[in-house]
C-alpha cells in the first residue's frame, strides 16, 4: 500500500496544504517589503492587529463546517466593543474589566444561540436569518453607543498590545491554543458529528446524530469566537465604535474560504481559517507597504484576493487538461 505523495493526495487528505503554501508566499513577499518583519516589535505590532480576524474566522469556519453561514458576526463584535467601551470606560478598574469581559462572552453566546435557534430549530435559511440578526446586533451596538467614544483603561489596552511572554507575541499563544483545542475536538464524538452534519445532514439524522443540536452549537461557537474577537479588538483600539465590526463579516468568510473550508460543509479544519486570516491580513500589510497609489490600493487588494481564491481551481483545471 504505497502512498503516492502527489498533488491530488495532498489536496484531498490535507486540505490545509494549499493555504499553507499561499501563506508562505505572502509572508515571503511581506518580508521583502518589510525586512524587519520578524523583529519582535514589528511582529507583535502586526499580530495583535490580525488576532481579531483570526478569532472570527475560526468561528465562521465552524459554522461553515456545519453547513451554514453567519453574516452577523461583525454585529456581535460591535456589541461587545460598545459594551466594554461604555461600561468599563477609561477609568475602569481591572475587576470591572474582567466582569464585563465575562458579560461580553455571555452576550456573544446568547447572540449565537439566537442565530442557532432560528436556523437549527425553526429551520430558516442561514443567509437571510443572519442578515436579519445582523441588523439586530448592529442596531443594538449603535443603541448602546450612538457615537464613537468611550474606552477601556489604557494599561489594560497596553497589556494586550505589548504582551509577549518568552519573546513570542501573545497572538501565537492564542493560535497554538486554538489548534490544540481543535485537534482534541476533531477526535471526539462532537467532532465526528460536526463532519457528519456538514457532509450530509439527512444521512446524519438517520444515523441518530443530533443534527439540530449540532447546527445550533456551531452558531453558539461563532458567537463565542466573535465575542473574543470583540474583546481583542477593544483592547487593541482602546475605544468604542459601533461600526467597528463592519468589515469583519465578509473578511471572515473570505479568510475561511482561502483557508480551504469547502463552502457546503463537511471538510476543513481550524488551521485553514487561521492561515486564511493571516494571509488576508498580510496581503493588506503588503499593500500598505508597497508603494502603490492610494487610489489603486482597493483594486490591487481585491485582485490579489480573487487570484488567491482562483488559484486552486486554476491549477486543477490545468492538471485536468494535461491528463
Amino acid at each position: 500500500m504505497k502512498k503516492r505523495w502527489n498533488w491530488d493526495f495532498l489536496m484531498s487528505r490535507y486540505p490545509a496544504f494549499f493555504p499553507l503554501l499561499l501563506l508562505a508566499v505572502v509572508i515571503v513577499l511581506n518580508l521583502v517589503l518589510q525586512p524587519n518583519m520578524f523583529d519582535l516589535e514589528t511582529l507583535n505590532g502586526n499580530m495583535r492587529v490580525f488576532l481579531p480576524l483570526i478569532l472570527v474566522s475560526v468561528g465562521q469556519a465552524v459554522v461553515l463546517l456545519g453547513g451554514g453561514i453567519d453574516i452577523s458576526v461583525g454585529g456581535i463584535v460591535s456589541i461587545v466593543n460598545t459594551i466594554l467601551a461604555t461600561r468599563v470606560g477609561l477609568e475602569g478598574s481591572p475587576e470591572l474589566m474582567w466582569r464585563y469581559v465575562i458579560i461580553s462572552i455571555v452576550v456573544g453566546l446568547l447572540a449565537g444561540a439566537i442565530n442557532g435557534f432560528f436556523i437549527a430549530f425553526l429551520r430558516l435559511q442561514p443567509i437571510i436569518t443572519t442578515y436579519a440578526t445582523s441588523f439586530l446586533y448592529f442596531g443594538l451596538a449603535l443603541f448602546i453607543l450612538p457615537n464613537p467614544g468611550g474606552g477601556i483603561p489604557a494599561d489594560i489596552a497596553s497589556l494586550y498590545r505589548t504582551s509577549a511572554p518568552l519573546g513570542i507575541p501573545l497572538a501565537f499563544y492564542v493560535i497554538a491554543l486554538l489548534l490544540l483545542i481543535w485537534i482534541f475536538v476533531s477526535s471526539t464524538r462532537y467532532g465526528k458529528y460536526l463532519f457528519a452534519v456538514g457532509g450530509k445532514p439527512e444521512a446524519a439524522y438517520e444515523t441518530a446524530v443530533p443534527v439540530t443540536w449540532m447546527q445550533f452549537s456551531t452558531y453558539v461557537v461563532a458567537g463565542f469566537m466573535s465575542a473574543l474577537a470583540g474583546i481583542a479588538l477593544t483592547m487593541l483600539s482602546g475605544s468604542g465604535n459601533a461600526e467597528i465590526g463592519e468589515s469583519m463579516t465578509l473578511n471572515s468568510i473570505t479568510a475561511a474560504v482561502i483557508g480551504g473550508n469547502a463552502f457546503s460543509g463537511g471538510l476543513g479544519g481550524v488551521a485553514g481559517p487561521i492561515m486564511g486570516a493571516l494571509t488576508l491580513s498580510f496581503i493588506q500589510n503588503i499593500i500598505s507597504f508597497a508603494d502603490i497609489d492610494t487610489w489603486w490600493e482597493t483594486l490591487v487588494k481585491a485582485s490579489i484576493i480573487v487570484a488567491a481564491l482562483a488559484a486552486p481551481g486554476t491549477i486543477d483545471l490545468f492538471r485536468r487538461r494535461r491528463s
Binding site: 453561514i69 432560528f118 425553526l122 429551520r123 430558516l124 435559511q125 443567509i127 437571510i128 436569518t129 442578515y131 436579519a132 440578526t133 445582523s134 441588523f135 439586530l136 446586533y137 448592529f138 442596531g139 443594538l140 451596538a141 449603535l142 443603541f143 450612538p146 445532514p201 439527512e202 439524522y205 443534527v211 439540530t212 459601533a242 465578509l250 468568510i253 473570505t254 474560504v257 463552502f263 457546503s264 487610489w295 489603486w296 490600493e297 482597493t298 483594486l299 490591487v300 487588494k301 481585491a302 485582485s303 484576493i305 480573487v306 481564491l309 482562483a310 486552486p312 481551481g313 486554476t314 486543477d316 483545471l317
Partner: protein, 320 residues
C-alpha cells in the same frame, strides 16, 4: 388542519397590502385621505422599482442553484451608474449609448463571475464577493476624486416623473420588465433549462441541457441586469457616489427570499421578487417615517425581517 395553498408571490403581495393599510393608521399616515393614500402607494412602488430591477439578476442566479448568489450586484450598480453619469453628461443623444455600455459592462463582470464559478469551481458567494471588491477598486480608480457628469433630461422624464395617468415612468418600465422576465423564465427553453439546472445538474446534462453554457449565461445576464439597475438608479437620483449600489445588495437577496423563490434553487418566480421588493421597500420606508433613532430602526427592521421569514421562509423539517 387543511393548508390553503397561496402561492408565495400572492402571499407577499397580500402582506404588502396589509402593511400599507396599517401604515395609514399611524400618526403620520394617510388616515382616510384616499388621494394621499394613492400618492403614497405610487411612491412606494416607484421606490421599489430599483430594488426590484436589481433583484432580477439575483433571482436568476438563485434559481440556477448550486448556492447561486450575486454579491457583486451592488458594486456593478454603482459602476454603471457612474459610467452612465459620465457618458451622458446631460445629453439626450448619449442616453442609448450609456444604456448599452451599462448592459455590456455588467455582462462582462457577470461573465467573469460565471467563469470563476463554473470553471474554477469557486463558490458563488465567494467569487461574487471577490469581484465586488475588484469592481469597487475599479470604481475608486476611475473616480479618483470626483466624476463630472450629469443625467440627461430624458432620463429624468422617463424614470422619475409621472408618465401616464400620473404613474411614474419607472413603474411602467418595471411592469414591462416584469412581463419580459416572466416570458423569459416560463416561456423560453433557456428558462426551463435554468430551473432544471437549479434542481439537478446531472439530470439536466443527461437530458441534453448545456449546463455550463446556461450557468455562464445566467451570471452574465445577472450582471447585465444589475447594470440596467444602475442606469435606472442614476436616472432617478441624478447623483452618484461610491456607496450608491451597496444598500441594494442584501435587500435584493431578501426580496427574492420573501418572494418565495427557494434559496436552494430550482423553483421561484420574478413576480415573487417584485412583491418581495415592495414589501421590503414598504417596511424600510415605514420605519424611516416613524421617528426613531437609527439604532432602533435597524433593530426593528431586523426583527421584522426575522418574523417575516419565520412565517414563510421555513425549510423542510428533518422529521416528517
Amino acid at each position: 388542519m387543511k393548508k390553503i395553498r397561496i402561492s408565495p408571490p400572492v402571499a407577499a403581495l397580500i402582506l404588502a397590502i396589509i402593511l400599507f393599510v396599517l401604515s395609514g393608521l399611524l400618526p403620520n399616515g394617510y388616515g382616510s385621505d384616499l388621494a394621499v393614500a394613492k400618492a403614497q402607494a405610487v411612491n412606494i412602488v416607484r421606490l421599489a422599482v430599483f430594488l426590484g430591477v436589481i433583484a432580477a439578476g439575483q433571482t436568476l442566479v438563485i434559481i440556477s442553484g448550486s448556492e447561486g448568489i450575486d454579491l457583486s450586484a451592488g458594486s456593478v450598480v454603482t459602476l454603471t451608474a457612474i459610467l452612465t453619469y459620465v457618458i451622458v453628461s446631460g445629453q439626450n443623444e448619449k442616453v442609448l449609448l450609456a444604456l448599452l455600455v451599462s448592459l455590456a459592462v455588467g455582462a462582462v463582470i457577470g461573465l467573469v463571475n460565471g467563469v470563476g464559478i463554473t470553471f474554477l469551481k469557486i463558490s458563488p458567494f465567494v467569487m461574487t464577493l471577490g469581484m465586488s471588491g475588484v469592481v469597487t477598486g475599479t470604481i475608486i480608480v476611475i473616480n479618483h476624486g470626483n466624476v463630472s457628469g450629469k443625467v440627461a433630461p430624458i432620463m429624468t422624464k422617463l424614470i422619475a416623473r409621472p408618465l401616464v395617468l400620473g404613474i411614474p415612468g419607472a413603474i411602467i418600465i418595471w411592469l414591462v420588465f416584469g412581463f419580459l422576465m416572466w416570458l423569459f423564465l416560463e416561456r423560453t427553453t433557456f428558462g426551463k433549462n435554468l430551473f432544471a439546472i437549479g434542481v439537478n445538474r446531472v439530470t439536466s446534462k443527461l437530458s441534453g441541457v448545456n449546463v455550463i453554457g446556461t450557468n455562464l449565461a445566467t451570471y452574465s445576464l445577472a450582471g447585465a441586469l444589475a447594470g440596467f439597475g444602475g442606469f435606472l438608479v442614476v436616472g432617478n437620483t441624478g447623483v452618484v457616489f461610491i456607496a450608491l449600489g451597496q444598500p441594494f445588495l442584501f435587500p435584493s437577496i431578501a426580496a427574492v427570499a420573501v418572494g418565495g423563490t427557494l434559496l436552494s434553487g430550482g423553483k421561484g418566480s420574478y413576480w415573487g421578487t417584485m412583491a418581495g421588493a415592495i414589501v421590503l421597500t414598504l417596511i424600510t420606508s415605514l420605519l424611516t417615517t416613524m421617528q426613531m433613532p437609527d439604532s432602533v430602526r435597524r433593530m426593528v427592521l431586523g426583527g421584522t425581517l426575522l418574523v417575516l421569514i419565520s412565517i414563510y421562509g421555513r425549510q423542510e423539517a428533518l422529521r416528517q
